[in-house]
Symmetry: C2
Subunit: 674 residues, 2 copies
């Protein structure tokens, strides 16, 4: 008995579904409807070519305010030999857009004539003179918009399969249409299933999962130009799911059955499809998203009219939110595109340099969410979290790097193709910050956004940030590295890790570092000494008041907080292996706080703001300085100018001073300038 899926290549999976749709005569525009020509037509897709019913202009129109005349009557007019024309039979006043009289074939602009009164004298009544004087010959058809200048009746105005934009609506109106025939919007049923699912806004208990995939998928369908119905949550029950699927099939063109697509105990999707129709594919070699199901179900004949099919395609969408979203992009978009008759939406592709090594299963098409930044001339792709459950990685992603099947992984520095979510212009406005995380950076991002800059930060610890700067992989780094020898922050590390790069270093904040502990500090932790659990190795008594061991959670190697810990442990003579949990690592202050809040650890070193955020107690131990490090070339760039202005001005400083545990007195002080 096998619980594994048999993953087939992506192209093969797509081909199987297309073939099934072709057999069911569903690989085509689904239907056509006539809609009124108003702004709601925006974004709809023309179902047929639009041919002009009338010409525009539909008459010879004056292109200026002026006088219509016969060009021939101005022959020979010169400054020294003006021609006079009588209003009425020889010339006639016309406003812009007025039709030319039958006998006229040109217009002279009002500013090019002298208006004369009944006595042949120049008059101020420039629009109603008795005659006009012209001192230059007028060419035939000058200042006239001839019939059909814009549109000639019967010409092609727009092809079929065209997505309507504002100007298109104008051209359609100008060509004599009042309605447009567009592709009917495909109707997509979204069926969330899972006993553990609860609706958005529910009060949660452990094991409850907020059902928001249907929301994301409905929004994706909307972007693609379809309509969707979000069905209520169905519990994991084979018969209930079958019933729901059949119900949805009556009135929808496509069914998305969310979760239950894997091969677990409560994964019914494959069985449901097998019972109600044909299971075409179960498992595709694509990550995230491989436990996808492609199939068709038969809704029965009662609804079949006009030769339409009784077959409804169904896609079993994996449950993890990133997998779900990518499955919809990969498998649903081409179907919606076909049903609407438009080209498949394609993201622009850029080539970027990978900032760190990526491992990938060799048989899979692997989509890796990346942050993209331009540093100097280099476009960089920094991989984000690869967890299929981490929806924020999709939110933060600037693009998707594809590691195609056949490639086992890629090294840092290799060129990777990135399908871009953001435009080149947006990327060029992005300040790429790497290194240690501090909450003030989130605030800084807010302020920068108001000054036409995006701020993308990746947390790799202080040392990681300096190394990245040396490699030219960021514009700036946040760092709070204490030198145990000098007691100074950052400078010696910068000289060590970035020896030949001119830098500017400014102080951002002073901040309290201390131990985050559970509310009420149940283990009575007061200092780093309380972490050492020497009893564990040498059978000594545990040292906390409650007589129980203390479980610590650490920051990752290279983080400034880790260096600070090691410095003080060294001074205090506490061996690191006497600390239970010393090897348990988190990558941010908030990660440490969350570990304590959840009970995974009793304490960890970090900043006050993180403790406050998760309602923990905080035992302050030291103040440290958090600096910003810039390679000189970026410090002087136009890109970063708004950042320096913000740090110099008062508004940002005020906002930071309101956070607990921060000292803004140092903000902006120049620490080092090469």
């Amino acid at each position: 008995m096998s619980v594994y899926l048999h993953d087939i290549p992506l192209a093969q999976a797509q081909a199987r579904l297309i073939e099934a749709l072709q057999e069911a005569n569903l690989w085509r525009v689904l239907g056509v409807e006539s809609i009124p020509l108003d702004e709601s037509a925006l974004g709809r897709i023309t179902a047929e070519p639009i041919w002009a019913k009338i010409s525009s202009p539909h008459y010879h129109a004056s292109a200026m305010d002026g006088f219509a005349l016969r060009a021939v009557s101005t022959n020979g007019a010169m400054p020294s030999a003006p021609v006079n024309l009588f209003i009425g039979s020889e010339a006639q006043y016309v406003d812009t857009g007025d039709p030319l009289p039958e006998w006229a074939n040109a217009v002279v602009p009002i500013e090019n004539v002298e208006s004369l009164d009944v006595n042949g004298q120049i008059t101020n009544d420039i629009r109603s003179p008795k005659s006009i004087r012209i001192r230059a010959a007028v060419a035939p058809w000058s200042h006239v918009r001839p019939l059909g200048e814009d549109i000639v009746a019967t010409q092609l105005v727009l092809p079929a399969g065209h997505t309507l934009r504002p100007a298109d609506l104008g051209a359609i109106a100008a060509s004599g249409h009042q309605n447009i025939r567009v592709a009917r919007k495909p109707r997509v049923a979204i069926l969330p299933t899972g006993t553990e699912l609860v609706p958005i806004g529910s009060k949660l208990k452990a094991g409850d999962i907020l059902e928001y995939n249907s929301l994301v998928m409905a929004a994706q369908i909307k972007v693609m130009g379809g309509d969707s119905t979000r069905f209520p949550i169905t519990k994991d029950n084979f018969d209930s799911i079958c019933e729901r699927v059949l119900e949805a099939a009556q009135t929808h063109d496509l069914i998305l059955l969310n979760a239950g697509s894997s091969a677990g105990a409560e994964d019914f999707s494959a069985k449901v499809v097998e019972k109600l129709g044909t299971l075409l594919v179960h498992g595709v070699a694509v990550r995230p998203g491989h436990p996808v199901i492609l199939g068709t179900i038969d809704r029965g004949q009662q609804m079949v009219v006009n030769g339409s099919s009784s077959i409804v395609p169904i896609i079993g969408v994996p449950g993890y939110p990133v997998s779900a979203a990518l499955t919809v992009d990969i498998f649903v978009e081409p179907i919606i595109a076909k049903w609407l008759g438009r080209p498949v939406l394609e993201l622009p592709v850029e080539t970027a340099t990978l900032t760190r090594k990526l491992v990938s299963p060799p048989g899979d098409d692997d989509y890796v969410r990346v942050a993209v930044g331009k540093v100097g001339d280099k476009l960089l792709a920094a991989p984000l979290s690869r967890g299929a459950g981490v929806i924020t990685s999709l939110v933060q992603a600037d693009g998707l790097a594809l590691i195609p099947s056949g490639v086992q992984g890629m090294e840092a520095g290799e060129q990777v193709r990135v399908h871009m979510y953001r435009t080149r212009a947006e990327i060029e406005k992005t300040i790429f910050c790497i290194g240690s995380h501090d909450m003030t950076l989130d605030l800084l991002a807010q302020f920068l956004a108001e000054h036409d800059r995006r701020f993308a930060s990746a947390n790799v610890g202080s040392q990681g940030g300096l190394v990245a700067l040396r490699r030219g992989e960021a514009h700036m780094a946040g760092s709070h590295l204490l030198d145990p020898e000098t007691g100074e922050y950052n400078i010696s590390y910068i000289h060590k890790y970035m020896p030949s790069i001119p830098v500017k270093v400014i102080a951002l904040v002073g901040r309290d570092q201390g131990l985050m502990v559970k509310k009420g500090n149940p283990k009575g932790i007061k200092s780093l000494g309380d972490l050492s659990n020497l009893g564990s190795g040498e059978k000594r008594e545990v040292r906390t008041e409650q007589g129980r061991s203390v479980l610590f959670v650490n920051r990752q190697r290279g983080a400034g907080t880790r260096v600070l810990l090691d410095y003080h442990l060294n001074i205090m003579g506490i061996p690191v292996d006497s600390i239970l949990g010393y090897t348990q690592e988190e990558y941010t202050h908030l990660g440490v706080a969350a570990a304590i809040a959840s009970g995974r650890a009793d304490c960890g070193l970090g900043i006050a703001a993180a403790a406050q955020a998760l309602d923990l107690d905080f035992v302050p131990l030291f103040q440290e300085r958090y600096d910003l490090v810039f390679p000189k070339e970026h410090a002087e760039s136009n890109l970063l100018a708004p950042l320096f202005e913000l740090i110099a001005a008062g508004q940002f400083r005020n906002s930071v001073s309101k956070l607990t545990g921060y000292d803004v007195s140092v903000m902006g002080r120049i620490i080092l300038e090469d």
Copy 2:
């Protein structure tokens, strides 16, 4: 007395309006509203940063179907030394997403264990065994999604001013929100004015102008994220317009007063703004669109609540449709962006080579609509019609080339910056065809669209097309150039105009050329001989039956039809200056037909299809061949492959054969292949 506007530079005009809005405290997000978190939130702009209310996951969740256990209990497990764990106290089955028991700190996937029955024998009941056997140590926290893996409570989920995309909605839901605070949509009043305007769908008489600017502008506002109201047409009456403006001001944030913005007899906009408020700018040095009005009006105090302003900005939008659309893009978009708190929408910019000379007033920022194509490695920008009344030029434009103020014009071959409407990927799928126009090319465009190709054609006549190919400015050209010496089509011209370029030439169609005449042929025109009006020069009698002269309309120099005419006139010994209207030129067959339909000419040489289109009679004279000319490098490209397939297959041929006056028997025949 001056009727001229005083145009001020664009930046200065924009600054004046912004200053007025700042003074009225209107240069900010207009308002905030809370909306439910559903797919209608898509595209809305966050009004505040969104901070996480809860963590996600909000508990330690199993990341796999498997068994939760204490990692320490698997220490030392090896293939040769398995560890057995009892279900209940030592291990517990969990589905993906289930919470870990309090005592567990790791999950082993179901496929990595042996399930044992009560007797210690392997059982098929893999999810409910009595114990499990493990042959490898499990690291702490492996296959667990720890609390806060995705989102940590209090963290920044999204900044203010962010446009919501599908994944964002998921992240907002995951962070515990049920509603979102977004910027209120600005309300824009669109007031079409003009006595000559009639609503879309009206039966037209000369002088009527279809009012569709309000439709285009409403669609533009929608794209920008605002709401609009399209008011009924107001006639050109000062008091009526004032009344309408005041009415609109009560319930809108911005008023767009369309047309009447110039200085003509019925241009009331400036006077209206002066009466009801402050005229800030009348005339901006930007083309198209210079007679724009910027101002503010005072709606009075009755509606003013919560400290909001009684000032409403008003923009007098020029009447020509291209001017109107560009005015909205240039002046309205920055205001809407500010009111929504989002960055200004910016088109990506590409640098392209101009295909022909452009003249531009030196003081103006001049926006030129261009078709953009990539031919070989060169990105080319081909200027389209510059008429502000030609809305189809906006429809066909792939971008806007900016000729900045200070530059008097640009030469062919110069590099120009193009603000792109289309993506690079779309441009790379575009077949750029230049030369002589034929209606079958419109059909071909339709067929190509179904094969993932765009087809852009520019009509410059047959010779112009060959010259463009020599310059590397197109992938192909349509040509029907008769060699008067050999009676052959195209070959000698290709050798003359493209001497050193290997080409492939295939026949597309044979088509009838003849004289288009008014319905019923009132002048009884039967042959080219009837065009000659020798009487005009030497007092000879006019030669048509009705005793009246025949007015001809010609094609432009270099057009194949023009060559054909000259060839036959030469054979028949008819001097060109004996033909009245010989110098009157049109650039397409349909243009010639329209000239005849409108009475601007009595006849012209062209193809049957054009005559049929405009309900003209047709006097067939000759059959000619229309060929497609390809430089060899493009003929063999992947880009053009679908075109050759279409010409070889039957479907396109069938469609063409249904058009009047076409002979498809030659289609696809190779005429020349170097």
